[in-house]
Point group: C2
Chain length 228, copies 2
DNA sequence: CCAAAAGTGTTTCCAATACACCCATGC
DNA sequence: GCATGGGTGTATTGGAAACACTTTTGG
């Protein structure tokens, strides 16, 4: 709220507004986050979340989508706001607040490419983060907790998988995020019981073993339902 | 994130940053929110959440505490960030983003007073909101959902009650927020079982009925635990 | 016939729910 | 003695968790 008009006339200075994108994926059974390596300035060679300032003519969510697309080459993914970080010393260069967004992608859906803006871009294991710029380590930790919670009471796992998948892959997503093994029978019973997924009729075979049934999510949009 | 230094040199303009305070309390069995009535400008005589711009030398949380104290006379209460709202048209006067904070107070702990800055200040029933400025109706609805969830998996109810209280009052808090009746025996069994509260040994009597035991919360700081 | 991953049911246990009467007090 | 709110226990049910073997395929 900014209530009296004098406030506006005064043009009281407020912090700069940025968005940061926390892009999660599960790759080879590990929870990963996409990071870029900063080229210059006081944070040179430090890793950071892809981000950018918010323009006057774009909403926060639009800014987050833009950053995702421009800086990481990611489109059409699950995106939601995580939280806003605004400690005084979070950026040594200028006072800023950052609205962190939380994104989920299927590892099959894209491969990061380095751009001219960054020294590097890569998936990092959330359990073993490199030295990071700003307060980004804190943001990632916060996001991870959110992800753990969301898996338990929503169907967002769909965003971490390709359209068609086998139940073992779905279970691997859960195990990677939660960091613990789940019982195969109970897991399968549950996801079918609550109609989280449905059979496609197709199967897929990898190597010399019994072909697995391919499933799709019953609904590929956020939905609240108890899973764990 | 704002990565390359040229960004900073350019001083790219970003939206103004404000904080809004969503102050909830349960009064006479109803969930209420504290609103102020705007004195002038395009939103004259509309109701809104207490709020204000964020200074360059204060963190977001400090700004929220300041607003709470200056604009609503509230101190020492439960405060957490809710979400940040940044649609293009949320404020007709200038482009702004608002970081909404979520506060809980005991209705005994303070009584709102009108200040020179506002035409009025009052508790409003969350179920019957007046016409409101900005996107504040949306913020309140969002906050209410957060509150419902938090009551279910945390002990934040302590912030809605005075230090000592009787179990019926605690149950009333839950019923007012959830909007449904709970079973008295099951409710009491549960809150004692999980050690949410403990007896003080004192009692309190109102009118001509059996005196009720006074309880306190085992812990008056946020704690995660399953209640419902 | 062996290796590799897929698939499948039953039992046990605990927590959530439903439910109705007696108690202490003031007037 | 009656009106008012305070306080208490048990039986039932449903979901969570534990648990091991058979199936299908390729080589």
């Amino acid at each position: 709220m900014k209530k009296s008009n004098t406030r506006i006339a005064n043009k009281l200075k407020t912090p700069a507004v940025a968005v940061d994108a926390l892009i999660f994926s599960v790759i080879k059974g590990k929870l990963k986050v996409l990071l870029i390596k900063i080229i210059g300035g006081p944070y040179k060679n430090k890793w950071a979340l892809p981000g950018g300032l918010v323009g006057l003519k774009e909403s926060l969510e639009d800014a987050a989508s833009r950053v995702l697309s421009e800086k990481a080459g990611v489109n059409e993914i699950y995106l939601e706001q995580l939280a806003t970080f605004g400690e005084l010393n979070r950026d040594v260069r200028e006072r800023s607040v950052s609205v962190a967004y939380f994104a989920l992608v299927s590892s099959e859906s894209f491969f990061p490419k380095t751009t001219e803006y960054y020294a590097d871009i890569a998936w990092h294991d959330v359990g073993r983060l490199p030295e990071m710029a700003f307060d980004h380590k804190k943001i990632i930790e916060y996001g991870r907790e959110r992800l753990i919670n969301k898996l338990a009471y929503s169907n967002v796992a769909y965003a971490l998988l390709p359209k068609k998948f086998v139940l073992t892959e779905l279970q691997n997503i859960y195990e990677a995020v939660l960091g613990k093994k789940l019982d195969k029978r109970n897991f399968r019973k549950k996801v079918q019981e609550i109609k989280l997924v449905k059979e496609t009729g197709e199967t897929r075979q990898i190597g010399a073993s019994r072909p697995a049934k391919l499933y799709v999510f019953s609904e590929r949009r956020p939905r609240i339902i108890d899973i764990l």
